[in-house]
């Protein structure tokens, strides 16, 4: 599914030509396959002096995953990943040595390598100096990610509420960022708070025995989400409008799940989803609000039907279904909603869509403590330019430019969005709550 341009500039004569002409050369991203190594090479763990104990804990975690963990940046290897631990950095000046050590190995960072920062979020009562040191990591990571090449990415874990390094959710997030599952996640900082969660018995089946509902599962990103959740061990209830039933049946049969033909805007959609999941599969653990529509128009030309349909499907339906889920009082329910970079940075011709997607971010944050009280989470994933049937209909020139805008210089695959969702839906990610994770190859300005 890698686009033709990316293929061409990565092989044979066209590769030489592209290099000579100085054309952008998007890398072929490594994506998850069961059995492949977690990283593409040894992992360097560096920290400032104050964070050494946390760095040791990180190293222990990595050793537990059978990785080749090094502490000396001068080792002559092609680095698979660098983890920079700045959790206890008290003053901005204290970070210098560790940060420059990371800089010294970047030329030896392998293609599809990873840089992951681990830091703490500024908190109420921090001294100005401490807050500065903590917040500085944000700008550093986002800039560093833009300097990485060859499909390498940079992402950060930001601990909140005194979360500890050996906590399951921190480990799960670290593993996600190091792995090929986060191939198209770049320049993102994810907050992880304290939460009780058991380590998965198998990291390759983090959703074993779970029941997941995916709306809009007939095709595109929804079908990829269903496939990915099923791969991770979940039984998947595939939901889409009755008119999309043919594709829905294909998805359900491919993942060994069940097809539920249902319009998510129906008054009783939440109850029917619950009933189906409980009666047919004995419970409900994960809900992915993926169903969404586009009715692009400049606001000056917007018809009521175009505005209302987008709000009804993309936002109101999620709210109503969530209400039913909260009423049901499910324990450990993980809800993941599809937002969009349009809802964060805005997009011309998409006032209705951006309204709905920014609304999704709003209700996700408000829902997170309600679900969190019962050991669940509510998070959102904001995809950037993803290669789907929908984006394939964008005119060629516009599409080609859109692909080159992110740091990774290419569009993402539906599976990239699905991997992020599968991570957030997993019990091990219980400490990630109320967050918006962008899957955009570090697309535009804004967070």
């Amino acid at each position: 599914m890698t686009d033709r341009y990316t293929k061409a500039v990565n092989s044979g004569f066209t590769k030489t030509l592209a290099t000579r002409l100085g054309l952008p050369r998007p890398a072929i991203l490594r994506r998850y396959r069961a059995g492949d190594p977690l990283t593409v090479g040894p992992v360097l763990v560096v920290s400032d002096g104050a964070s050494k104990a946390d760095a040791d804990a990180v190293a222990q975690t990595l050793l537990g995953w059978d990785l080749d963990v090094r502490r000396d940046p001068t080792d002559d290897v092609r680095w698979g990943a660098v983890v920079l631990v700045l959790t206890e950095t008290a003053r901005p000046a204290d970070a210098s040595e560790a940060v420059l050590a990371v800089g010294s190995v970047l030329r030896r960072l392998a293609g599809n390598g990873r840089v992951v920062t681990v830091s703490r979020a500024p908190a109420d009562g921090d001294t100005p100096e401490l807050a500065a040191a903590r917040n500085a990591v944000d700008g550093f990571l986002r800039s560093l990610a833009k300097e990485l090449r060859g499909g390498a990415t940079g992402n950060g874990i930001v601990l909140t509420g005194g979360a500890a390094l050996d906590q399951t959710s921190v480990r799960a997030t670290l593993r996600f960022f190091l792995s090929a599952k986060s191939a198209y996640v770049d320049g993102q900082l994810l907050q992880v708070g304290p939460a009780d969660a058991a380590l998965p018995e198998e990291w390759d089946r983090p959703l074993d025995g779970k029941v997941a509902v995916v709306t809009g599962a007939a095709r595109g990103i929804g079908a990829a989400i269903a496939r990915t959740l099923a791969r991770d061990g979940a039984t998947v209830v595939c939901v889409d409008v009755p008119a999309a039933g043919e594709g829905l049946a294909r998805t359900a049969n491919a993942v060994g799940g069940t097809a539920l033909q249902l319009d998510v805007t129906a008054e009783d959609a939440g109850q029917r989803i619950l009933q189906h999941a409980r009666e047919r599969h004995g419970g409900l653990d994960v809900v992915v609000h993926n169903a969404g529509i586009l009715r692009d128009k400049l606001l000056a030309n917007m018809k009521p039907a175009q505005w209302d349909a987008v709000i009804a499907v993309n936002l109101a339906a999620q709210l109503r279904i969530n209400e039913a889920l909260l009423d049901a009082g499910l324990d450990g329910l993980h809800v993941v909603s599809l937002a969009s970079t349009s809802g964060i940075a805005g997009n011309k011709g998409q006032t209705n869509y951006a309204f709905s997607k920014a609304g999704v971010i709003g209700h996700t944050r408000a829902t997170s403590p309600l679900l969190g009280a019962r050991g669940g989470t509510a998070n959102a994933v904001a995809p950037g330019f993803i290669e789907t049937d929908m984006t394939a209909s964008i005119p060629f020139a516009t599409r080609s430019v859109a692909r080159l805008l992110p740091t990774l210089s290419q569009g993402g695959e539906p599976v990239d969005v699905a991997e992020a969702i599968a991570f957030l839906a997993s019990p091990a990610a219980a400490g990630v709550n109320g967050q918006v994770l962008r899957v955009c190859g570090q697309h535009m300005v804004g967070q």
């Binding site: 009755p242 039933g245 043919e246 359900a252 049969n253 033909q261 009666e279 047919r280």
Partner: protein, 447 residues
């Protein structure tokens, strides 16, 4: 069941079967007018699609079912194992046995009777019945002269004999033979046969058009209300039955020219509007024992209580071609201790609007009851508001072998819904007439 008594008759047929066969649900593809959306879809593709939708709805991927039974009326010789080939092309376990069965338009219902009987006897725990038919992709045969010559040439031992055999082919033999639905013994089409019956019972044009109008209106209401959301899976972009005319009117129907019975002495009354059109489509019904349904966490819509088939002597003109169900139903009800008042729903296949009306007229006629049905008087009249409440073949279309499955699934959902609403058992009578003077009837009851 023994403890549940009703204000009407006791649970029907309780003493008969060693155990119950229940209807779990059904799935069909939307029916399409011949030569339109499914113009190049084969029977096998359509039946496979209907099966795949069923598998997806009930999560039967990889499941070894007891048997899949179905058939097609118009069938290519290469499709000798049509149903088994469809199973092999589906997501069911390839260890699921299957066989083809054919009883003209009663094929789908006869297949359901077969599966139900096997379940009741304990020979199988689960099964799928159904049928498929395409007029658009019907087989075309070579002429009898051509066929004989080709066969003889094939058997010939020397080239001279081969040449001699082929030399017998005359220009007239080059004309292909299209399949006909004419009765082989009378040479009359089904419509012409029914025109005679219609005239015999003095059925008016207005009464027929009324039935046709109601069929379209009821079917359209059912689609709008979402009744078919869990009974139909779209196919090839068709999401609803395309023969349905929600906007038709008594005036429009009255304006159509009669097409059958124009050579009779009485005025011709049967038009394209009150006769079923040639249609393509496929349907399936999932049945099982109660234990099987329970073990698979599947819903149970209805109990398949009992069935009766009949045949009439239409060749010598004693009875109308499509009147066999009129004879079957009294026998079926007598055996189960039921009368027409015990039914909440009557699903009478609308081969023609007048089929429904001649059936009712015959049952209400005392002389007919005595002389033809061997009853003390008239069999009885039934509440017309309970007939084909969600439309029937005039609106949905009639892909011969697929009609039985459509009706059984609809009837099963009707009784389940009614019982859930009223808290009392509900019952449906199914009646399907067929070519060759055949008819199949059945009783379904809520569980």
């Amino acid at each position: 069941m023994a403890t549940r008594q009703t204000s009407r008759a006791q649970t029907a047929g309780a003493a008969q079967g060693p155990r119950d066969a229940v209807v779990v649900g059904g799935n069909r593809i939307p029916f399409a007018r011949a030569g339109k959306k499914y113009a190049d879809a084969s029977n096998q593709e359509m039946f496979t699609a209907a099966l795949e939708g069923l598998v997806a709805r009930y999560g039967l991927q990889g499941e070894r079912l007891g048997e899949v039974v179905g058939g097609a009326v118009l069938k290519h010789s290469r499709d000798f194992n049509l149903v088994r080939e469809s199973v092999l092309g589906s997501s069911l376990s390839p260890q699921t046995p299957a066989f083809d069965l054919q009883q003209a338009c009663a094929t789908g219902l006869e297949a359901t009777i077969t599966i139900a009987n096997k379940i009741r006897l304990g020979q199988i725990e689960s099964g799928v019945s159904g049928g498929t038919d395409t007029v658009s992709d019907a087989p075309i045969a070579v002429s009898e002269g051509m066929r004989r010559a080709l066969l003889d040439a094939g058997h010939a031992k020397t080239w001279q004999d081969r040449a001699k055999a082929l030399a017998r082919i005359r220009p007239a033999d080059l004309k292909p033979l299209s399949p006909a639905t004419d009765e082989p013994r009378t040479g009359l089409s089904m419509g012409e046969h029914q025109a005679v019956t219609t005239a015999r019972w003095g059925i008016t044009r207005e009464a027929q058009d009324e039935i046709a109008l109601a069929s379209h209106q009821h079917l359209a209401e059912a689609w709008e209300s979402g009744f078919f959301d869990d009974l139909v899976t779209p196919f090839r972009g068709l999401t609803r039955d395309d023969n349905m005319r929600p906007d038709t009117s008594a005036e429009k129907l009255a304006g159509l020219k009669p097409v059958f019975g124009r050579s009779l002495e009485t005025p011709a009354t049967m038009t394209a509007g009150n006769s079923t059109p040639l249609t393509d489509g496929a349907s399936t019904v999932l049945l099982g024992s109660r234990e099987w349904a329970e073990a698979h966490d599947l819903p149970v819509l209805a109990r398949f209580v009992d069935a009766e088939t009949a045949a009439v002597d239409f060749v010598h003109g004693r009875e109308g071609l499509l009147m066999a169900p009129v004879h079957a139903v009294p026998r079926l009800l007598a055996r189960n201790g039921l009368s027409l008042e015990d039914f909440d729903f009557f699903e009478i296949h609308e081969a023609f609007a007048s089929t429904v009306l001649t059936t009712l007229a015959a049952w209400e006629d005392a002389d007919y009851g005595k002389n033809e049905l061997g009853l003390p008087g008239a069999f009885g009249s039934l509440d017309r508001s309970r007939i084909n409440v969600h439309g029937s073949s005039l609106a949905a279309g009639h892909p011969f072998a697929a009609t039985g499955g459509r009706i059984v699934a609809t009837a099963a959902k009707l009784v389940a819904t009614k019982a859930a609403e009223t808290g009392k058992p509900a019952r449906a009578l199914v009646s399907v007439c067929a070519a060759g003077g055949l008819g199949a009837t059945a009783v379904l009851e809520s569980v």
